[in-house]
Structure formats: structure tokens, C-alpha cells
């Protein structure tokens, strides 16, 4: 386990700038989640740390020493690929044992057998150990690919959307399992996901990437409650944050052109009246689609609400987030 420090990392692929000037410290034992849409540079960051690509400039330090000149094998990192990348000509057992049989680790066979059995039972693939990797379902392949990382105790686990193709129940279980590994072993994780629940529940830190730049780095709460821009604000929150003209509810703060309202920023029962367009019952929550003076917004309501489309509902903002014309947060 080790601290990983990225300093001023820049990487281009041809004319596309994948990462520019990214600096980030992944503290020892932390669980850092990277957020951002496709093409923001999340996977590139993982690949640069793993050593699969070389940065154009900047440095990657693991446990205090630069690894930029090292081969991936020398860096002692484990990576779970989005495309699973199981070795198709091997059985599940051999896939899991592969890192332990490498010339670098070269563990004795009885230890390998024990370790593989442990990991397989944690990931519920023990009954598939003698299957060919190609005979598995998508979810099973993904678990094997996570398992191939977990058999080792690397300095950092790099995971690129490892739970994306699992069903909801298994995803929830593995989320807890990964969190347990993080806590029990004190392992360091750098984790890419699109899933808000994963980000909020697992992360100790969240980094938000936008077009190859790190725009904010902090705890999940900080990112959620104090986003530096409209871009960061839209990364987290279900339903998404609503952006409305700054003067919709009265005089705007100086310089502000829009306000950001999360459901908890919307007080119901007082203020101007909005029309209910649609009521979505999701079970644990109910979403209200509202229309107010030419603007659409979505908020939450009590699951047992009696509101129906066409009703009027008075709403008023409370402690909203203020943003200027270019989307930056105002203090």
C-alpha cells in the first residue's frame, strides 16, 4: 500500500489532449473515485499510473519514488479493465492464478491454490473455476477480472468501472465487499465510475475531470455540497441539480446569472406557484416534474404524495448555489 502522487501529468493522443496538467495526491489507504463523462481522461489517468501509456510530461510517484521509467510489472499495481480482458485460452482458475505465477511474484502452487479459492468464494465464482473464461456470462467475467486484481496485494488497485455490467443485487454486494477490502486491508484504490451510489458510498475522495483537467478534488460531501462549477454540480445528485435564471425568485446575487437547486434546496408550500407536469413514483422516492414561468425543474416529494399532474405547488429556494455566466460558483 502506498501513496500515489500525480504531478502536472499531460498526455495527448495525436491532436486530442487527453490529460492536461493533472496533479493529484492519492493518500495511502484512500479510496479515490474519478468522475467525468466519456473522454474526460479518467481511463487515461489509470493507464498512466499503470504504465500502459507514457505521459508527455509530468511525473507519477508511488511511495515516494518516480515510476515513469518503470515497466508496468515493476510498478506493482493491479488493474481491472472495463472490457474484462480475461485470457480466453485459460480456465477461470488459471486466469486468477496468472498474476501469482508471474516471474515477479512467483508464489508456490499451494499458496496460489489457497488464494484463488479464497478470492473465488468472495466473488461467488468458485463453481466456475474450471470453466474456460469464454464460457462465462458478462457479470461472471467481470467478477473474474476483479478477482485477478484481488489475488494480489499491490501498492494500488486501479479499477475502471468494475461493477458496470453486474445486476443490481450483485453490484450492491460487491460494493460492500470492495469497501471491506479497502477498510480491512488498508488498500489504496483509484476507481472510475459513473454510478453515483458507488461514488458517494465508497469514496474517501472524489476527483472530477473535465476535458482532461482536474476541476475539483475533495470528499464526496464537498463535491456534492460545494461544487466549484455547474459542471461539477451535475456530476452528483439524483435527480440532477436544476439550473434556473438567477432572478426567477427575486433579486439575484451580484454577478449571478443562474441558481442551482438540488431537491433539498427547494422548500415546498411557500413562494410562487409551479404547475405539476408529471409525478414519478420510484418506490423509495417520488419525483415531481414542475413547470415554473417557462422553466422545467425536478424535485422530490413525500413517497405518499397525493399530488397529480395539473396541481399547483408553491416552491421557494433555500440556500441555493449561485453561478456566474461561465458556470463558475459564486461565494
Amino acid at each position: 500500500m502506498a501513496e500515489v502522487v500525480l504531478s502536472a501529468l499531460t498526455k495527448s493522443f495525436g491532436a486530442t489532449k487527453a490529460l492536461s496538467d493533472v496533479s493529484m495526491t492519492i493518500p495511502d489507504g484512500s479510496f479515490v473515485v474519478l468522475l467525468g463523462p466519456t473522454g474526460a481522461g479518467k481511463s487515461t489517468t489509470l493507464r498512466l499510473i499503470a504504465g500502459l501509456d507514457k505521459p508527455d510530461s509530468g511525473d507519477v510517484r508511488i511511495a515516494g519514488s518516480s515510476v515513469v521509467g518503470d515497466m508496468p510489472a515493476q510498478r506493482d499495481v493491479a488493474m481491472v479493465f472495463q472490457q474484462y480482458s480475461l485470457y480466453p485460452h485459460m480456465t477461470v482458475r488459471d486466469n486468477l492464478a496468472f498474476p501469482l505465477r508471474s516471474p515477479i511474484l512467483n508464489r508456490p502452487e499451494d499458496e496460489i491454490r489457497k488464494r484463488v479459492a479464497e478470492v473465488a468464494s468472495v466473488l461467488r465464482i468458485a463453481h466456475k473455476l474450471d470453466n474456460k473464461a469464454t464460457q462465462l456470462s458478462g457479470g461472471e467475467m467481470q467478477r473474474v477480472s476483479i478477482g485477478r486484481a484481488l489475488v494480489r496485494a499491490p501498492r494500488i488497485y486501479l479499477m475502471d468501472e468494475p461493477l458496470s455490467s453486474l445486476d443490481a443485487a450483485l453490484r450492491a454486494e460487491l460494493r460492500i465487499e470492495l469497501k471491506r477490502i479497502h477498510q480491512d486491508l488498508g488498500a489504496t484504490f483509484l476507481y472510475v465510475t459513473h454510478d453515483q451510489v458507488e461514488a458517494m458510498t465508497m469514496a474517501t475522495h472524489v476527483g472530477v475531470l473535465d476535458h482532461g483537467r482536474l476541476v475539483q478534488f475533495g470528499t464526496p460531501r464537498e463535491i456534492y455540497e460545494n461544487p466549484v462549477s455547474t459542471y461539477v454540480a451535475t456530476r452528483l445528485g439524483q435527480p440532477r441539480i436544476n439550473f434556473l435564471p438567477a432572478d426567477l425568485f427575486g433579486p439575484a446575487r451580484a454577478g449571478a446569472t443562474q441558481i442551482g437547486l438540488r431537491p433539498e434546496h427547494i422548500l415546498q408550500g411557500e413562494g410562487p406557484e409551479a404547475r405539476v407536469i408529471r409525478v414519478e413514483h420510484l418506490g423509495d422516492q417520488t419525483r415531481l416534474h414542475l413547470h415554473l414561468a417557462g422553466n422545467d425543474l425536478i424535485t422530490l416529494s413525500d413517497p405518499h404524495t397525493t399530488l397529480k399532474p395539473g396541481d399547483l405547488l408553491a416552491i421557494r429556494p433555500e440556500d441555493p448555489l449561485w453561478f456566474d455566466a461561465s458556470g463558475n460558483r459564486l461565494p
Partner: protein, 313 residues
């Protein structure tokens, strides 16, 4: 509801297809059947007119193929001890004695050494080159690939004279090494192009995973890429072997003794004591066997190799 089905052809069309396939197979296999059967005929049967389809089989052709013989006269024959084995007995009936083994064995062995040697070398070099072209940023990659392909655009025999002169001054004429190098040179362009196609189909992520799992690039190549390229390697090997095995023109030109392969040797059998068609046919039959066995062994890979790009992903 009509009986028409997209997936299942009707019994009638299946029947027609079967007849066509059978006819085609019969027509293509007819020369092969003729050669194999001629190998088991006696000399007179092999040239009888109309040709004999039904005949009494004899292994005279095979005996003649593997032996050198000389004619003896009546008195000498009487002084000889009784024939020691079946081959001797067959030869005696034609007023001849066996003087020793023929050259066919060595020539056949030469074909094996040169054919498999050059196939191995083509595949070994071709796989490494194809991997490099597929995965690394090679300067002038496209030009180099075209250059490699261009060596295939001209019939090799067109450069026979320069090669003959080169081989003579390098001392490669009539050597196994010379023939292996020559066939490798001809085959390697095919090997690089075919294998590059197969390796391109293997996603890079597998190697990247292996690199992270603690392996060097060469180890990743050996443990992850090679097993997955096995299909492509097998089908490329068949193509290379068939070329090297059957090659005639260069073999005639560049070999005469030590390194002569079977193709230029087999026709020379005909000159030993009249037109010995059964011996020629026997030689051709034995010559066919290794490639046939090799192809049948790798048949599964060959079929998968041909459809490789189509079925994957």
C-alpha cells in the same frame, strides 16, 4: 403457412446439394485415385489400353521405387540362392536382382528437412515480425509492409538466374541450408501478412493485462498472444508447407545431389529400366502423404483460420 423456412433447406435442395458435392469431390479426387491405384499396378497393367480399373494389386511399384536393380541372364539366375525376402522374389520374376536401396529415401528425407525447416523458420520469423508490425510504432510501417508484399508480386522463378548465381558464389547450391533459406524467403511475405491479420484480431488489452500482472512484453507475447494466435499460425504453416513441399522449379535448378528434394527426383525414376509408371505413382503417393496428414491434423484450425475474422466479435 408454407413449408418454406429460412434456416432449414428443403429435403429436395439438400438432395441436390449432396449430389453436386459428391460429383465435385469425385471429379477432384479422380486424379488422386488414379495415382494411388497406378502405384499398385504391375508395369503392363499400368500402360494397358483401355485402362484397367479392376486389376490384381501388386507392390512391384513400391519395390522398384525403393531399390536399385540390375538385369541378369538365365545362367546367372540359376546360381543364385533363393530370394531372401518378398521384394527379392518380385524382382527375380522380372529377371533382375536388387543391387541396393534407391535414392528415394534420402530425397524424401531432404523434402522433409527442407519443407518443415523452411516452414518453421517462416513461421518463427513471420510471427515475430507480424507482432511487431501489429503492435509497435515501426518507422515506415506501411512502406515496409508493402515492400514485403511486393516480393510476392513477381513469380519467384523470374529471379531464378540471379538466385542461381548468388547461390553459386555463396556456396549454397545443393545445400539444405540454401533451400531452406530460399523457401523461407518466398514464404515469409505470405506469413507476415497472414499472421499480422490474425494478431491484429487479438485485442491489445490481453497483453496489457499481462503486463500489469507482472510479465514482461516478451512473456506476455509467449503466454497470451501465441496461444490465441495458434489458429492463425496453424493455417499459415499449412500454406507455407504446401508451397515448400511442392516447389519444383528451384529444386531442379539449384539441387542435384545432396539436397535434392523429392519433386525433381520422382520423374527421374521413369528412366530406370523402361517406363516404370507404377514406381512413379508409388513415389507420388508417398510424397503426398505428409502434407495430407499435416493438413488433416490441422484441419480444424485451417477451417477456423479461414473464417477467423468473420466469426469473432
Amino acid at each position: 403457412m408454407s413449408a418454406f423456412s429460412v434456416t432449414e433447406p428443403s429435403a429436395r435442395s439438400k438432395g441436390i446439394a449432396a449430389v453436386l458435392v459428391f460429383l465435385y469431390a469425385f471429379i477432384t479426387l479422380l486424379p488422386l485415385l488414379w495415382i494411388i491405384s497406378t502405384g499398385f499396378k504391375t508395369g503392363p497393367d499400368s500402360i494397358s489400353y483401355p485402362p484397367k480399373v479392376i486389376f490384381t494389386p501388386s507392390i512391384e511399384g513400391y519395390v522398384n521405387l525403393f531399390t536399385s536393380r540390375t538385369r541378369i541372364n538365365e545362367e546367372d539366375r540359376a546360381t543364385l540362392s533363393p530370394p531372401a525376402n518378398f521384394a527379392e522374389a518380385i524382382v527375380r520374376e522380372r529377371d533382375m536382382v536388387i543391387t541396393g536401396p534407391s535414392r528415394f529415401g534420402e530425397r524424401f528425407l531432404n523434402s522433409v528437412i527442407i519443407g518443415f525447416g523452411s516452414t518453421f523458420l517462416s513461421i518463427f520469423l513471420g510471427t515475430l515480425a507480424a507482432y511487431a508490425f501489429s503492435r509497435f510504432r515501426v518507422p515506415l510501417k506501411d512502406d515496409l509492409m508493402f515492400f514485403i508484399l511486393s516480393t510476392r508480386m513477381m513469380p519467384p522463378i523470374a529471379v531464378a538466374i540471379p538466385i542461381f548465381l548468388m547461390f553459386r558464389s555463396l556456396g549454397l547450391s545443393d545445400t539444405h541450408l540454401g533451400m531452406i533459406l530460399l523457401y523461407t524467403g518466398v514464404n515469409i511475405s505470405l506469413a507476415v501478412w497472414l499472421l499480422k491479420g490474425f494478431i491484429d484480431e487479438i485485442p491489445r488489452e490481453y497483453e496489457e493485462a499481462a503486463l500489469i500482472d507482472g510479465y514482461t512484453r516478451f512473456q506476455a507475447f509467449r503466454k497470451v498472444v501465441l496461444p490465441q494466435a495458434a489458429t492463425g499460425i496453424a493455417s499459415t504453416a499449412i500454406f507455407c508447407l504446401i508451397f515448400a513441399w511442392n516447389e519444383y522449379a528451384f529444386a531442379v535448378l539449384l539441387t542435384s545431389g545432396t539436397a535434392q528434394t523429392a519433386p525433381p527426383f520422382i520423374p527421374t525414376i521413369i528412366g530406370v529400366g523402361g517406363q516404370d509408371w507404377p514406381a512413379v505413382a508409388a513415389g507420388a503417393t508417398i510424397f503426398l502423404l505428409p502434407v495430407m496428414i499435416f493438413t488433416i491434423l490441422l484441419r480444424k484450425h485451417l477451417l477456423r483460420g479461414i473464417t477467423f475474422g468473420a466469426v469473432r466479435k
